[in-house]
Each structure stands twice: as C-alpha cells, then as structure tokens.
C-alpha cells in the first residue's frame, strides 16, 4: 500500500495531501520555498509510484493563494505527471477576485492534456 503524505502548510510552503486510500489529493496555500525542486521532489516521487496503481478517478485539488515562479515550474511537472495517470482530473480553485490565479490555472490547463474544472472560493 502506498503510504499517504500529509504536510501542514507553512508561511512559505503549501499544505499537501496525497492519500490513495481516501482518494484525496490536494495542494493548497502558499508556495514560495527557496528550493522548490527539493520541496516538490517527494510529491513527484509519490505520483511516480502511484502511477500504475491509481484509483479509477484521481481528482487533484489545487487551491493556491500564491505561488512563486520556481514553484510554477514544479506545478507544471506535477500536472505533466498527472497526464500519464488514467482518470486524472484537476479542480483549480481561485479566490473570486483573484484574476491572476484564475489566469494561471487557465494557462496550466492549456499546457497539459487533463480535464480542468474551475471553482471560486
């Protein structure tokens, strides 16, 4: 069984949930780590292992308040990984008056071939 990852959010790293048993997949909060590659490495590794034993549906929730450009590159890596996972989809949350976050989600959706659903909060 693939062990779940739960990380609490901090002032510069997001909350992470990767839980196959409960079918919960989430990145939320702020992502501005100094070393984005290091922070996201375990997440990408987990998805690597998840591929091939994935649930019938994998809805990945992105609810980011802010992310830096180094994180954006890693978010694209996560989305590219999800592209290879059967039944994966993304729900992109943005604050209702946050046009930049809405636009960021739209741009990601144009860069990968996964169904995107947009929701405001």
């Amino acid at each position: 069984m693939l062990e779940a990852i739960y990380l609490d959010g901090t002032e510069d790293t997001p909350k992470i949930v990767l839980d196959k048993a409960n079918n919960a997949f989430e990145i939320s909060g702020r992502s501005l780590p100094e070393d984005a590659a290091e922070f996201y490495e375990p997440i990408l590794n987990w998805l690597e292992k998840y591929e091939g034993q994935e649930n019938p549906k994998t809805n990945f929730m992105f609810k980011l308040e802010y992310f830096n450009t180094a994180s954006s590159k890693l978010i694209l890596d996560i989305l590219s990984k999800l592209e290879t996972i059967e039944g994966a989809s993304v729900t992109w949350f943005y604050h209702e008056d946050d046009e930049d976050m809405e636009e960021a989600g739209e741009e990601f959706s144009e860069l990968v071939d996964i169904p995107f659903d947009f929701k405001t909060y």
């Binding site: 002032e11 510069d12 100094e34 590659a37 180094a70 590159k73 694209l76 144009e110």
Partner: protein, 184 residues
C-alpha cells in the same frame, strides 16, 4: 547623529513604508513579506492590490537572494543589497538594488529590454514558452520567469538602471509599479 533625521526625512519624502538593507536569505524574505503585509493590512489595502504587491515582492526578494553578488564580504556581509517599498497616492513602487558581475550586465539588460517591449499577450506567450522548456530549474533554483512574472503582475514597464561599481561589479536597480486602483 543628524543622518538619522535626514534618513527619516528622506523616507517620508519618498513615501517609503519599508526599507531593508543587508543580507538576503529566505528567512529575511519571509520577515520582510510579513512586515509589508501587516503594513498594507493596517490601512485596509484592497486584497487584489495586496496580492500583486506580495507577488512582485516575492520574485524581487528571491531574485536578489539568488543573484546578488557579494562584494567586500568583510564589510557588507553576504549578498548585501537593498529592498524598499514606496506607497504613493495611486501606486506602490517595489525597488531592489544589488551588485552583479559586470559580465552579467549585457544579458540582463537585453532581457529587461525585451520584456519591456512586449504587451500583455506577448508576455504571456513568453512565459508559457519558458515554463514548458524541459530541463528543470537553473542551478540557482530559479525558473527564469521572475522578471517576466513581475512585468505581468505589474502591468507596467519595469524600471531599471546599472551603475558601475568597479572593474568587476555593477550595481543593478530594479523598480516595479503596482497601481492602487484595481480597475484597469
């Protein structure tokens, strides 16, 4: 001691709400961000404006902590640089200044000029073409997107200047504006 009063008056005249001079690290970046956020909260700045200022601050501070060149380490400490925020009637101005190596000037100048020549759509296309480039982050941990992102979030041209320090290094200043009226 008069310099204290002079510095205080300069800050007031320039509408500077925050000035930091010294070493730049992730811990300091977080503290400066928290101070600026609290400051903007204290006079009830609009959420959309606050987010843009925060966003540009992060890219600016992380650029400095990644790229500032340390000069005269004994005197100034590691990558000593300056960062400040000015709050004016209709805009915020986020400014940084740091030393870079002379051989980096031409590349940076060309990059800033090409960014300033692009409109909103052009910046978006440039951003997308760089983010999807394979190969991960640079050795300094950057995505090569910071300046483009700052220009996009700002909606204004980036201001910049280069002042030679000596035969090895140049002082690079960068300033980004955020309009305080969210209606475009």
């Amino acid at each position: 001691m008069k310099y204290i009063y002079d510095l205080h008056k300069t800050m007031l005249n320039q509408n500077l709400i925050l000035v930091y001079e010294g070493e730049f690290t992730q811990e300091i970046t977080k503290s400066v961000l928290a101070m600026a956020e609290r400051n903007m909260d204290s006079f009830g700045e609009e959420a959309a404006v606050k987010r843009k200022v925060f966003n540009i601050m992060v890219e600016c501070l992380q650029n400095v902590s990644k790229h500032a060149f340390s000069y005269e380490t004994d005197t100034y400490g590691k990558n000593s640089a300056i960062f400040m925020i000015g709050k004016h009637q209709d805009e915020y101005v986020i400014t940084s200044g740091n030393a870079i190596l002379n051989e980096e000037v031409d590349g940076l100048f060309a990059k800033l000029q090409s960014i300033n020549q692009l409109d909103k759509e052009g910046l978006k296309e440039l951003y997308k073409s760089i983010i999807k480039r394979p190969g991960g982050l640079t050795e300094k941990g950057g995505a090569g997107l910071g300046l483009i992102d700052m220009a996009r979030k700002s909606g204004n041209k980036l201001g910049f200047s280069f002042e030679p320090i000596n035969e090895k290094i140049t002082f690079f200043s960068l300033s980004t504006k955020v309009s305080r009226s969210t209606k475009e």
